[in-house]
Amino acid sequence: MSLAVVERWVEAPLRRFVEDAQAVLALLLTPSGQVLAQHGFTRAVDVMSACALAAAIHASSTELGRQLQGRPFAGLHHAGRRRQLFLARADTPRGPYVFLTVFDQASSLGLVQLYYDEFTARLGDAAPPKSNDTTEVLAENFESELDRNLKLLFSR
């Protein structure tokens, strides 16, 4: 399984999700687009693109949900002809994350939603508490942080 993580605590919950849901691709990122873990990608540039797009879609759909119903949408599902996409927010004690997964006919939306719920619970349990010295990713160091994370994911 081609799974790689930037932070160790993400690995077990993500690995379990990928196995249970038979996901083709999976990506965990911060709302600003910093990658934390990936499964199924073979090129850093694809992860970078997917993170940027997922963060943008998440931001748009969150705001659209607020405008329409006063709160963000719970998740977003897009069904393609051969592959489907599910994008949702994952809240942890460490803060919110964005989760993107792609699946095919080996799985289903129902299974992905089911195992996504279990994934977020496990992620919440595994997340270390947010420490005071945790540095927020600012616009000025965003690119260097992204480069560092991509190197960590694809250097093994």
Binding site: S107, S108, L109, G110, L111, Q113, L114
Partner: protein
């Protein structure tokens, strides 16, 4: 669930049978609930996702073995049964306890599945 759904009368009829804890119409492809009449103890979205996956695998297995389509699928567990019958992409799923009269229920389930809209 909406009371105007065309599935509700059939599902209510099935759920009134002795030992039936719930009945659901599920999309086989998506594994999501189309409609359901279930007791509070039945987690409809979870049952729908897993039962649809099971039914799909059974259909694929029967096809691979050259047996044609699946007419009826029953899983017997310690505390009850899951009974399934489908038509096109729709699957009717019954969750029962151990008191259920399987023969009659199977007839009712197959009749409901046959009446599903194409």
């Amino acid at each position: 669930m909406s009371s105007s759904s065309p599935f509700i009368p059939s599902l209510e009829h099935l759920t009134r049978q002795r030992g039936v804890l719930g009945s659901l119409v599920v999309s086989e492809t998506d594994g999501i609930v189309i409609d359901a009449v279930v007791q509070p103890s039945v987690k409809a979205p979870v049952v729908a996702a897993l039962a649809a996956s099971l039914y799909r695998r059974a259909r694929q297995s029967a096809h691979a073995a050259g047996l044609g389509g699946v007419k009826y699928l029953e899983l017997v567990a310690d505390g009850g049964r899951l009974c399934m019958a489908g038509r096109d992409d729709l699957v009717v799923v019954l969750v029962t306890d151990t008191r259920v009269g399987v023969g009659l229920l199977r007839v009712e389930l197959l009749r409901t599945a046959a009446e599903l809209p194409e």
